[in-house]
């Protein structure tokens, strides 16, 4: 081959290498970069639907409008009527900061972009709708306001639901934020060390403390080999670790009911060892620990320790300490399960999705997630919880003429101040409301600080909610 032809072939090879390089980069780009690039908020394609479709309204169970969209001068705008109240439930839909809450999880319904079938998809392509679907929540707006007022100034969460149907009446997490001023305050909101963006009710993981004893008690009842009587001496040493009762009180001779009523730590630590790790863990898992709770908002999974567990850790689990972690939602469901004959129902936040012409697009039906204990045992625990409120640590939750069942908790935590808990339900004979109150790093007992909040909420709810 002559020199000239050799050089032409070099040029050919060089150009071909460039082309192959382009092909290589195209493939690399699609595989590794495209996904991240697509989500950039400057990508107008993300907002096409927002610009064309009137996002649906969100209403509470009585039809009170909480959020809606309106067209002003050809531009669609989203309005949130209550700045802070629904920041963790409805969340926000913002061009620069994305979406959260139901605005995120029900986005496709709110914009009527259901992708249920190929035919639906084709319909969307051919004749896209211009008005989205409305959401009807199970929330009672009055109760939601009441709950926030009761928690005002504190850090924590309150969640209340119907123990039989799973409908959530109120769900408040504090601190919260103003969804209408995200633009101005985003930097402050997102960097605040108190994490106002976190929905503590469903995503905050806390040691449950003594409210967990409801589950321990269920495990004890369910273990035929475990004797229920015990003599409390105020403290007990398990594998080198000393478990003490509150103020070192020796409760003396106790049965299960008595132990729950006075919230005896030594009783439950000793009994945990008798139950055994496997059996105990199975009971906790029946109450949805280590299980994902299906919900309309993101939920963190409660933790009951698995694997090899020393006696100290197992004993600590019996009083809701050690490695046990839970969400207020999970504890509300635990109270609801006792109220509901041992059945854990699926929590529901959105009851119906209704199209603009009134057609029911989707509705969330009652669903039993797990049967934790049988109804006989559930009723026994219920009676014990009634005794807790009547004569035990939960006296602050008692209401005149209404039989309240409950359990208090004061959870120690590594950061210092203890969390105050209360879970319960009322009326005990025909439960209508189950509630969980958590006050983060409150520093006082659940009976002193959380129980009165639950009481006030239950009074309001029983008088005002249209069940």
């Amino acid at each position: 081959m002559n020199e000239e032809n050799r050089r032409i072939i070099i040029v050919l090879a060089g150009l071909c290498l460039c082309f192959i390089g382009l092909i290589g980069f195209m493939s690399y780009f699609q595989v590794f970069e495209a996904e991240t690039i697509k989500t950039n908020s400057y990508n107008k394609r993300l907002w096409i639907n927002e610009e064309k479709i009137l996002r649906g309204s969100i209403m509470d169970r009585n039809g009170t409008v909480l959020a809606y969209s309106q067209e002003n001068d050809g531009k669609i705008q989203r309005y949130y009527k209550y700045a802070n109240l629904y920041s963790h439930i409805i969340g926000y839909s913002h061009r620069a900061y994305g979406k959260s809450g139901l605005e995120l999880s029900y986005n496709n319904y709110l914009l009527d972009l259901s992708e249920s079938s190929t035919i639906e998809e084709l319909k969307n392509i051919v004749a896209p709708s211009t008005i989205g679907n409305d959401l009807v929540l199970t929330i009672d707006h009055g109760s939601q306001e009441k709950a926030r007022t009761l928690l005002q100034g504190k850090k924590g969460a309150l969640i209340a639901l119907n123990p039989k149907s799973g409908e959530i009446y109120a769900m408040v997490s504090l601190p919260d934020f103003n969804v209408n001023s995200i633009d101005e305050e985003w930097a402050v909101i997102s960097e605040d060390t108190n994490s106002p963006l976190l929905n503590r009710a469903t995503q905050g993981l806390y040691p449950p403390g003594s409210v967990f004893k409801v589950i321990t008690a269920s495990a004890i009842i369910n273990s035929p080999n475990v004797a229920t009587n015990y003599t409390c001496e105020g403290s007990t040493n398990i594998d080198g670790y000393n478990f003490k009762d509150y103020s070192n009180t020796a409760h003396g001779e106790l049965d299960l009911s008595g132990a729950l009523t006075v919230s005896c730590n030594t009783y439950f630590t000793e009994k945990s060892l008798e139950i055994g790790h496997d059996r105990f863990r199975n009971m906790a898992q029946a109450f949805m620990f280590n299980n994902n709770i299906p919900f309309d908002l993101p939920v963190n999974t409660s933790v009951f320790p698995k694997g090899n567990l020393g006696d100290t850790d197992l004993a600590a689990s019996g009083i809701g300490q050690g490695k046990v972690l839970t969400t207020p939602l999970n504890m509300a469901l635990t109270a609801a399960a006792i109220a509901n004959n041992g059945e854990v129902v699926k929590p529901i936040l959105v009851s119906d999705v209704v199209s603009t012409n009134g057609k029911l697009v989707k509705s969330n039906k009652r669903e039993v997630l797990s049967v934790a204990i049988d109804s006989l045992d559930a009723n026994s625990i219920k009676e014990m919880m009634v005794a807790v409120v009547k004569s035990g640590t939960g006296r602050n939750a008692s209401i005149k003429n209404v039989k309240v069942a409950g359990k208090t908790g004061t959870a120690e935590n590594a950061s210092g101040k203890s969390h105050a808990w209360f879970i319960g339900f009322a009326p005990a004979d025909d439960p209508k409301i189950a509630v969980a109150v958590l006050l983060e790093e409150e520093g006082s007992t659940g009976g002193a600080s959380a129980a009165p909040i639950a009481r006030d909420f239950i009074i309001y709810g029983l008088n005002n909610i249209k069940f």
Binding site: R7, L15, A34, Y42
Partner: protein, 412 residues
Amino acid sequence: MFNNVSNKTPRNLLFIFEVLTLFLLLVNQWDNIEKTVYYIWIALILVIYISNYILNRISNGDNYIFLLVTMLMSIGIIMIYRIDSNLGFKQLLWFIVAIIAFYFTYFLMKYIRGWKNWGKLYIILSYILFLLTFLLGTRKYGAINWISIGGFSFQLAEITKLLLIFILASYYSKPDMFKDNKYSDYIVMAIVYSFIGLLFLQRDLGTAVIFFGIYAVIQFIYEGKRKNILYNIGLFAVGGTIGYALFDHVKIRVQTWINPWLYIDNKGYQITQSLFAIAEGGFFGSGIGLGYPEYIPLAYTDFIFSAICEEMGAFTGIGIIMLFMILVYRGLKIALNQNDKFFRILAIGVSTLFGIQSIIIIGGVIKVLPLTGITLPFVSYGGSSILSSFIALGILQISSEDMGFKEEEYSE
């Protein structure tokens, strides 16, 4: 030379491709279809089919290159029509005009002799075209390289590109062009760099790089004094650095190439919108009519590749790259088989032109290279771009034929 090659099968495959894509487009625009649309589409299919058929009859050269180009044209016209039906129709008209220009070039080159002797004429013509651009030029998309005649906008640099190839071909096939001057190689270099400098002043950076590329390639193959190649590269590097320091528009190109996300709502807007489109398309695309090319600036010209990737997928984009690769391969193969040195250099020049231009603009819109505003040959909208590309293709077509018979004819 290539007359044993049949183009019947690819011609029929191309036919099927067109019918299918046009059908897709029709389904998408079902609601507002006018009767003229059918005529336009039938015209497109016929023009492509017939011109390929005729070429097979009259040229004994490489009949694949025209097929490759009609495939590119089909994708381009369909995309342009989908973005803007008026532009699509105009592009179809330009396509027909360009095919006529192709045949015109083909016959002109075939029956007129002495092309290699007019080197000085090409140089003078080039300067006249530059002068015209400066006198009559209007600023469009930041570059002063358009002139408007009778309502039509022309980019004269499109013609100068071809003249450059002719200048280099006649110089290297007949080095006695400046026989009275022993510094003839430096004179040629000076001329090419005056072109590049003028393009720089017009802010037409993409074309400047193409000029450099063509010159560097032909010089690499034919320059006897190998040192000159180093001078050329050195000069370009120095010129580029000075240009970067002096001109803001050069700086912006580099900045938005390194990190366009910093300037997403101003300087980096174009390139980021292009990347969004390609990312949204994925490998298979959103489907014709289901993407949003209206969000891509200049989707019908410089950024047509991004629009195609969004709706037809990265696989179609890769297909386009491969079509260009095959085109360049065929073009350089033509050069290897051509006995006449002048036509051999023309073939090299034209292949390099197609190759470099497509690499620069595709690399630009996918952010591999700094973005420079040039068209994707045969795909982008634009009369002067299509015309000059088809004239170049006509040159490549004639170069693929055996020039031997012409000499014989001449000697008779």
